[in-house]
C-alpha cells in the first residue's frame, strides 16, 4: 500500500493506543458494575467506603448519659424526655475532647419551635401546650422560670 494511506493509519492506531493507555491509568481499578444493573450500579466501589467513613457528629442520648447521668435521669422523668440532648445542647462530636464544652441554646426561639401557637387543625402542633410571644409576657425568657429538663412549673416548687 502507498505511504500516504499507511501513515495516517499508523497515526490513528497510535492515538487509539494512547487513549486506551491513558484510560487504563486514570480510571480507578474498582470502577465497574457492582450489582445487577448497568444503569444504576456503575460506579467506583471506593466511593461507598468514602461515605461510610464520614464522621458521626450526633452521638445520641446514650453517649451523653455515660457521663451526665443526673441530667439524663432528670429529663427522663419529664415530658421533654422525647427530646434528644443534642437538639438543645448541639452535636457532641468528639466532646469532651473536641469541643471541650458545648454551647446550650437557651433562646426563646428554640422553645418556640414546638411551643409557638399555630392554629392548624389536623396537625399534632395543636396538642402541644403553646404560647404566643406577641401576646404573652416577653420580659423574661422561657428558661428563667421553666427548667427545660422539667418544664412543669408545679413540679418545681
Amino acid at each position: 500500500m502507498r505511504n500516504h494511506v499507511l501513515r495516517p493509519l499508523f497515526a490513528a492506531i497510535v492515538l487509539v493506543i494512547l487513549i486506551l493507555t491513558a484510560r487504563q491509568i486514570m480510571v480507578p481499578s474498582d470502577f465497574g458494575v457492582h450489582g445487577d444493573s448497568f444503569t444504576y450500579n456503575f460506579y467506583r466501589a471506593g466511593a461507598v467506603k468514602d461515605w461510610k467513613n464520614f464522621p458521626v457528629s450526633y452521638k445520641g442520648r446514650q453517649y451523653c448519659a455515660e457521663c451526665h447521668e443526673d441530667n439524663a435521669e432528670s429529663i427522663a422523668k419529664s415530658k421533654h424526655a422525647i427530646i434528644q440532648c443534642e437538639n438543645c445542647h448541639g452535636p457532641a462530636m468528639d466532646h469532651p475532647d473536641n469541643p471541650e464544652a458545648l454551647t446550650i441554646n437557651r433562646s426563646r426561639d428554640l422553645c418556640l419551635r414546638c411551643h409557638m401557637a399555630l392554629p392548624y387543625p389536623s396537625s399534632h402542633r395543636e396538642d402541644i401546650p403553646s404560647m404566643n410571644p406577641d401576646e404573652d409576657d416577653l420580659e423574661k425568657t422561657c428558661v428563667e422560670c421553666h427548667n427545660p429538663h422539667n418544664p412543669n412549673l408545679e413540679d418545681m416548687e
Binding site: F31, H34, G35, D36, S37, T39, Y40, N41, F42, Y43, R44, G46, A47, V48, D50, W51, K52, N53, F54, P55, V56, S57, Y58, G60, I82, I83, Q84, E86, N87, G90, P91, D109, L112, R113, C114, M116, A117, L118, P119, Y120, P121, S122, S123, H124, R125, I128
Partner: protein, 257 residues
C-alpha cells in the same frame, strides 16, 4: 474428516494438559443462593417512613441534618426540609418552608401573609428528603458514573468522580439535589449512610422527638417500618413518574406536591 488413532491420542493428551492447568473450582455448580450472591444480592434495602400526622414542624431534623452532614448552615441549601401547608376555606393552598424550616415554624405568617385562624380548613407539616428511588432518574442521567445506587438501595454521589455538570440536579423530580458550594459537586441526602451502616439511625430520625420520621430495612418483614408500610395506608410522592420512591408517607394530602 479422518482421524487416526495416533492423532486422536496426541490431541487428547494436549487437551488434557490444558484442562489440567485450570483450577477445579471453575467447574463448580452453584446453588441458586450462591449464584444470587455472586451477582450481588443485598440483604438490606433501606426505606423511610414519614408520618405527617406526628410532625409539628419544629425543624430539629433539618438542623441536625445540616450539622451532621456539614451542609453549609447559612446557605439556602439543605438535604432535607419541612413544608407547611395551610388550606383555607376558599380552597386556596398556602405553602412555605422558610430556610427549609431549619429554625422551625415560629410564626403564623406564611410568606408575609397572615391568615385568619377561622379561615383555615386544614394545616399540616410535611418533611421531605431524598426518596432513594428504585429507579433513580438522577443516576440515569449522570454522564460519568458518579451517581449510583448502592447494593442496599441508597443513591450516593462519588465526590471524587462528580464533575459538577448538574444534570442530576435537573433530573430529580423531587428537587432534592443541589450543588455543594464547598466540594463543587452535586449533593443530596445519603440516608446518613455513615450512620445506618454502623447500626445507628439517621440524624433526622434521632432528632425527631415525635417519631414522625423512621428508617428501616424493607427486606426484613419484622422491621417496624416494613410492617407499617405493609399494613397501613401509605403513599409515595409523584408515583406517576415511575421512579418507585422508597420514602413512604402516612397521611399524605392531595395538596402535597
Amino acid at each position: 474428516m479422518s482421524c487416526s488413532r495416533r492423532d486422536f491420542l496426541k490431541k487428547g493428551l494436549v487437551g488434557g494438559a490444558i484442562a489440567a492447568t485450570l483450577p477445579l473450582s471453575n467447574f463448580k455448580f452453584l446453588t441458586p443462593a450462591e449464584a444470587k450472591a455472586a451477582v450481588g444480592d443485598p440483604a438490606v434495602r433501606w426505606g423511610f417512613l414519614v408520618n405527617t400526622y406526628k410532625c409539628v414542624g419544629c425543624g430539629f431534623c433539618v438542623k441536625a441534618c445540616k450539622k451532621e452532614n456539614k451542609v453549609p448552615y447559612d446557605l439556602p441549601i439543605t438535604r432535607t426540609w419541612v413544608e407547611r401547608y395551610v388550606v383555607t376555606k376558599d380552597d386556596k393552598t398556602h405553602v412555605d418552608s422558610p430556610n427549609g424550616a431549619r429554625d422551625g415554624f415560629t410564626s403564623p405568617k406564611i410568606e408575609g401573609e397572615t391568615i385568619n385562624p377561622d379561615d383555615i380548613r386544614k394545616g399540616f407539616f410535611v418533611p421531605k428528603l431524598c426518596n432513594q428511588c428504585e429507579n433513580p432518574a438522577c443516576v440515569q442521567v449522570c454522564p460519568v458514573g458518579a451517581s449510583f445506587q448502592t447494593q442496599d438501595g441508597v443513591v450516593l454521589v462519588d465526590r471524587k468522580w462528580c464533575i459538577g455538570c448538574g444534570y442530576c440536579i435537573m433530573a430529580c423530580p423531587y428537587g432534592v439535589r443541589f450543588f455543594h458550594p464547598v466540594y463543587k459537586v452535586a449533593d443530596k441526602c445519603t440516608f446518613c449512610y455513615h450512620r445506618i451502616t454502623k447500626g445507628m439511625k439517621t440524624a433526622c430520625v434521632d432528632a425527631c422527638a415525635f417519631g414522625a420520621r423512621q428508617i428501616g430495612d424493607l427486606k426484613n418483614p419484622d422491621d417496624p417500618v416494613t410492617k407499617a408500610i405493609l399494613t397501613e395506608r401509605v403513599a409515595v410522592l409523584k408515583d406517576e413518574y415511575g421512579t418507585k420512591p422508597q420514602v413512604f408517607y402516612i397521611g399524605l394530602d392531595e395538596n402535597v406536591r
